[in-house]
Subunit: 216 residues, 2 copies
DNA sequence: TCGCATCAGTGATAGCCTCTAACTGTCGCC
DNA sequence: GGCGACAGTTAGAGGCTATCACTGATGCGA
């Protein structure tokens, strides 16, 4: 593959960066992204604080790298589910498993953003990749008709690049958007613990929403 | 009303607490909840850092107070909309306006939680109040039938206190939950900026989801 | 193979933060 | 009018991000 020959130093650098991210994920999983501390990571790795700045210019850059990896992981999950022949329902299932596997990873992407933070372009690209895969699945066989609505037309009319592959299929666009927003609605509330103590099974709510989008 | 006679000191204390929260909201609106600094607030108010600890034992307690106020404000918004004769659609509109008015206030309640943070009981009560108001509106006139689904039965069967007023109305429970999760899905993605650059109008998506829940 | 440039990692430091402790001065209640 | 309660102060411990000047190892080209 296109692995441009790596110098030992580059290889080591990449390795350490990977290890840093590993520790960062552990911290995030237990204390949330806002509690992520470069200092603490450095100590865990047995080196002094400022050493980390050789690998990530600042805290934001590390978080950005984590966001990138999260998107990548989600895209991979969706891709492999689709490659395994999963339809829209299977895809929804795969996404839920992925989210529950590491709630903070999901929330890093789809959770509360820092007002100032601007995602770099390639991150937007990764988000778009995910959307494209949803669009592909949103046109599969075995899907019921969606109730009539003007939304599909609106989406088709105002397409700004996120659906260039299917510009003329309002129902597909509608289904993809609704798939995204509804599943995110259930998932994010579940992950944030807002269903705790309400006594019902979030999986059932999720499943019902999947059916509502996929049709009977 | 039951205003137990206030001493001047209590009055002053309450006033300062209110002023602190005011500054806190301004900070949160511009930099997010994770960037909230007691120190900075104190300086803005012309006093030294530790003085604030007379009013809030720690950072978490201040944030909890803000969360309480946010719930209260949302509950008031919903109540006054309902009192004004708004149906489920009107309620959805009022909620959207409330959310857009101050995105970080919405996200403080429904956004990414801090893993360690445990909401105090009265906060859970406030969340329940909101849910109860949704349940009331979810049984109004002029609502279409929801597609058949086992979710309503599940919700009715596993009721654990959040819907004691309407235990035997599966469709109402179903509608309330779906109202909540779907609108949150659209709203939270919009507020987090995930629709940016996609070229469609979030209000249209929101409206379509409202119609899908309220029926034609 | 040798020499040197590059780069990993260091301690010191500035400046921010939360939160505690000890102290002072003022306010209001009895 | 006096005293107790309480607001607000400074000092400081301990954490954080981030910069700087430095040391020492490493790997590359000559």
């Amino acid at each position: 593959m296109g692995t441009t020959t790596e110098s030992p130093r580059q290889r080591y650098r990449a390795q350490v960066q990977e290890e840093i991210k590993q520790h960062a994920w552990e911290q995030i999983a237990t204390a949330g992204a806002s509690a992520l501390s470069l200092n603490a990571i450095a100590k865990q790795m047995g080196m002094s604080g400022p050493a980390l700045y050789r690998y990530f210019a600042n805290r934001d850059e590390l978080i950005t790298a984590l966001i990138r990896d999260a998107y990548q992981s989600l895209a991979d999950t969706i891709r492999s589910a689709a490659a395994g022949g999963a339809d829209l329902r299977g895809l929804a299932q795969a996404m839920r498993v992925w989210a529950l596997e590491d709630p903070q990873r999901y929330l890093l992407i789809y959770g509360t953003p820092v007002p100032g933070y601007q995602a770099p372009d390639d991150t937007r690209q990764l988000a778009n990749d995910v959307m494209t895969k949803l669009l592909e699945a949103a046109g599969g066989d075995g899907l019921g008709a969606l109730p009539a609505s003007a939304l599909g037309e609106h989406l088709a009319a105002s397409d700004a690049g996120w659906a260039t592959a299917y510009p003329a299929e309002p129902e597909r666009l509608h289904r993809a958007v609704v798939f995204w927003t509804r599943l995110h609605g259930v998932l994010s509330l579940e992950l944030a613990g807002h269903f705790d103590g309400m006594g019902f099974d979030p999986a059932r709510v999720y499943a019902a929403e999947v059916e509502a989008v996929a049709g009977h």
